[in-house]
Symmetry: C5
Subunit: 322 residues, 5 copies
């Protein structure tokens, strides 16, 4: 299903009309048009491309998915690729949805790879700030970017929460293997997320360049605001990397600690069991040792065993090995 | 509770008056006005915003907390976000208080998220350097930034002290699990602190740019001084990261050392116990071995056991395994 | 075998003619000529060099293989070195093929080290976009670079797949030594790949510089497209480094986990076996202990043994050591 | 004790005169004056400040110690902070001495935190190159910086020697705990040293900027020389970090090696002792096994024990476990 | 022994004449003179310095060895320091030879610290490209730099070969301690090599700057060629660091793997020996257990022992612990 909208002089005039009806308005500078295509066929793209005079290369890029936000400048239009991100807290898996955007002087075309990105939220945001609609494409594009970047914020918040949860597990007495799996999945998601988010800084920055004439002066603070958010997401991502390293390295150091603790216990108990065994071995010899076959032998043996065991136990306790 | 101050020609004329009284002076270039709002409601902000003509986006930013110092430039005013930091040495926890600042030509509005940041200290500092008060907003802003950055210095000093304390524990004979917890908490606080402090360099640097006309020429050295402090905090933070790594890695290496020492002890004692056990086993066989059922058997056994045990003990001692 | 092509006014006029025939067209601005030499002898190069007036140093560089993409600017021509990469998924080995390119105003000479790089693919791509052929050398060079960079994409995709496969192995119950070998080989290939790919950014960027007059205006978007791909490959390579680190470090942490698990099992079973041994030792002494030589002794012994063993087993189970 | 010197037209005219006598010459462009204050009281500083018209902020900075080389530019003078470093090879401890320098057109004021920095060496160096004295303050400042930076060179040399010594210990058969302590102390000193040395690059570079008019043209090569030294110290410091990492990581890897060696020995000897114990256990059963109570039993037992022990010993030797 | 050469109008006119004869030609712009001094005394340097008017500071730098390539610009001449490197594959040791170069308008003076750097190779290279000799000092300097940088290439190739050799050892069944020593030595050599090689980029780049007038236009591609080589050496050095890390970390991970394997074997065999010991202990009790003193006892015992041992062996095999 495709969405369409037509603004004239900042007022929403039509909505949901077929793409073909667009040709009348596309050259009217008072209009701002938006089309949205979801998982379009090459044929669909060809229609749009024809209508708006889009560059062959940009169309090709829509059909290939190569995972990096970018802004390409063509003579008659811009071509923007951004990524909407979704995070599944259960599995720790991150999925990206490519959104390709064609920006002409008075049209914005969004091409979504699939319907995982919530385009309704973009529409809601446009409707919430109707007073800015007079800024045309500049306004439409801002609404889209705002939703995308806010989405990134939500992800980074979710990742941060997961890290908090891992921290909770970290000092549990019982080391769980799950901790490793979670840390692994989290780091992987962070790497993926960085790839989709870091180049956004450059993309938004380029968009704001005067000579592209995309951003109208009155919209500049709004784009600056988006840019600030992008910067924060980037910095936060870096912080999370540090925090995950912190968890991972502390975990390693805890394993070392636990190993040492286990080894000390093992040594201690081994000694406490081995010493009586040695003594009974002595009293089990078939030679006439002092006390052999006599009650005094039993009492000596019993006393030595008990004394040695208790002595060792106390000694180990004192050294905190038990 | 909100604070207000009115300076005219560098002299404190009024204090503690209601925000509404401000409108008379807000357009008088001889005046410098300061309001402080602590955890204001949206309504409070709306009043101020109206009075001073603040941008909608800046007001929205006050209401969202997104943890990154920044400076936004709007047509009629600047919007600054900085963070006051508090550190609890006991728990090793760092808490940040967002301070939003609106800077117009002759008014400074500070909006604190909560009352953890000590605004009285700012007032004291203003009163301590009355001679600079004639520089208006430029003077007021300096006082605020000076207190914020001095606060960062105190935190970094406290973190440094904690690291010194960790170093003390590091070479203790008894490895304590607390060392891991402390190192973990410290690293986490450092990551958080960096996030609130590093962008300050850029923020202060931007403030000092000539074309913003915020900093009057005579105040320039004072801002330079704040900037120097910010640089030192940033460099010191990086040093602390290195020092914490040093502790962490030395700790790991110590665990390895201890494990080796334990293993050597374990091996040695195991041998010293197992050899006599083996010998008594021999003398416990129900076969006519030389000396079985005869005193000579007992003496041979006893001598072999003692010789072997002492010999092993001496040998291990020499190799420094015991 | 060498390939040749002659375009006049953007139309393919001749193909497969001998290199010597070229001199007639080499100074005709309406022509665009391509020669391809595979593993040429110094004599072959001397002929070409004479024909096109190539610099001695560039010719020398063809004969030495020093593994770094670069662009050298000479007065009358450019000298470009790029690398075609092949990856063998089985052995995890990466092999590079050096491709040297001389670029004059209307001739492109490609010199391949060996025939591992698929030059037919370049020809296919040229034929697929005949409409651009009028842009001469600029068009020819684009076709070549496009194939080279697409090759890099395939490699990085293959490396990514290998990493996915490693991840699968990572949480297998049975730690396999192969995981280490694979991780090792993969990291090595990544280092090698980076060396051949990262300088490509600079090379393509230099090619696009206006003052070199290599790229005709109409071809600019196509070179921009190649440049974007190069950037993505570079960023993706960095992501893969991170992912491999993730695997490597998780693997290390798993070894620690397994070691701890083994040690706990060892300790537990050692105790469960050692305690009955100690008891039977007691009942094997040749002294009149209570119950010696009497059925009650057997029963006591048996009950103590079973009780102790079962008790220990249950205790260890509870603490999750078994 | 304070030092003073007065040069007129490049000739040393007076020395050791009281600070108060200075006012006569301070405005004479033919003079170059030097004062040195060691650990001055605020009152002492006030006198100097008055005399030379120094900025309040610079004076405050003298009284606070915040550990970072820097250069502040005031209208009438410069304020420079550098650090003299001392290294105690015994304890591995590094101590820094802050040296504050005020630079006016014809006066140089050095303020030392304490007398650990050898000011006599600076005087010696001035006297050794009298021919340059005509360059006034530019000459005086160079002498000071030269001594400071040469001091840094000595420290880095001393640190390098310590690293060499550590390397010697590294492959000792007997792992010493001291190695850890030394590595720890060395890394800590390196971190501290970096903090005092790295910003020197920027400081010297700023001093050499034309528009400050500090460095006379004829002195430029001398400052360039100091700058080169600073660069080398910085690079050397980074190399040392790498070398210390090398030691630390090799040490860790050696611990792993030793642990494996110990474990193999432990396993081998445990087996060699446990097998005979098992055999004697068999022959100690109170059941009529073949050879029980008969000489043949003893001989069988003895032969089996010796064969098993020797066989195991030989087998372990072959596999290099013993 | 010192070398000298005199070129006039690009033709070698004299060779091996005494340094003192030089004064006649030193001001003749048609001449290009080369002197070489090996380990000169301060007196030797004074002569040269007088003759050519060299700066005192540059002369001092010759006498101090501070290990960093650099280019100093003086009014009448340039002063260049580069390092010739030698690598001993046997010991893995790297030794550097400082080469100081004075460059005036028509003289090149090379001062070698010792005779380890092969100056004959430089002479050979000059003689091999006589046609360029007309470019005077520019030509002479290129010959020298070319030999120095080619030397670096050989070292990096040798280091690369050593790394290949280490890789071979890495997956050997028998972990050898030598691997650690080699890795350690290799990393140390790499650190040292970097220090001598990385600043070369900046040095060569500065030499090529137009305003120094060192490099004649016709020689520019030759210097560019040297510069490319320097860049490749630098990048290769970085790759080698990565490869050594790869080896080091894989080695660590292998130690962990081996430790786990040893522990599992230890556990398995300990169990297989301990269980029969426990059973014979049972049958060695001096109590009337079922079968005591009867053949049935022996058979039961024998069967239980064999069954338990074989059962355990099979079980451990299945779990791949043996």
């Amino acid at each position: 299903m495709s969405h369409t909208r037509l603004y004239r002089h900042g007022v929403l005039e039509a909505e949901g009309f077929p793409v073909a009806d667009v040709s009348d308005h596309v050259s009217d500078p008072a209009c701002a048009i938006w089309f949205d295509l979801c998982a379009p066929s090459p044929a669909d793209l060809a229609v749009i491309s024809e209508e708006l005079g889009l560059h062959k290369l940009a169309i090709e890029d829509v059909l290939h998915d190569r995972q990096r936000p970018k802004l390409d400048v063509y003579d008659s239009h811009l071509f923007l690729t951004v990524y909407g991100e979704q995070f599944d807290s259960g599995t720790g898996q991150l999925t990206s949805t490519e959104i390709n955007v064609f920006i002409t002087r008075n049209a914005l075309v969004t091409v979504r790879e699939n319907d995982r990105f919530d385009i309704q939220e973009v529409i809601r945001r446009w409707d919430a700030s109707r007073d800015l609609a007079k800024h045309g494409v500049s306004f439409l594009l801002h609404g889209l970017l705002d939703v995308v970047v806010d989405g990134h914020f939500e992800i980074i918040q979710a990742l941060d929460d997961q890290i908090e949860a891992l921290e909770g597990e970290l000092f549990d007495e019982q080391p769980s293997r799950e901790l490793q799996r979670h840390t692994f999945a989290l780091r992987k998601s962070l790497v993926q997320f960085r790839r989709g988010v870091l180049p956004m800084r450059e993309v938004i920055n380029s968009l704001m360049r005067r000579d592209l004439h995309v951003v109208e002066a009155a919209m500049a603070p709004y784009y600056q605001d988006v840019y600030d958010h992008v910067l924060r997401v980037a910095e936060w991502t870096d912080s999370l990397r540090d925090l995950v390293s912190n968890i991972r390295e502390t975990h390693l150091s805890q394993q070392g600690y636990r190993l040492n603790a286990i080894m000390k216990k093992l040594t201690s108990w081994a000694a406490i069991i081995a010493v009586p065994t040695m003594i009974t071995g002595f009293y089990g010899q078939n030679v006439p040792y002092p006390g052999s076959e006599q009650p005094i032998g039993f009492w000596t043996s019993a006393i030595v065993i008990v004394t040695a065991s208790v002595g060792l136990y106390v000694a180990f306790r004192k050294r905190d090995w038990l």
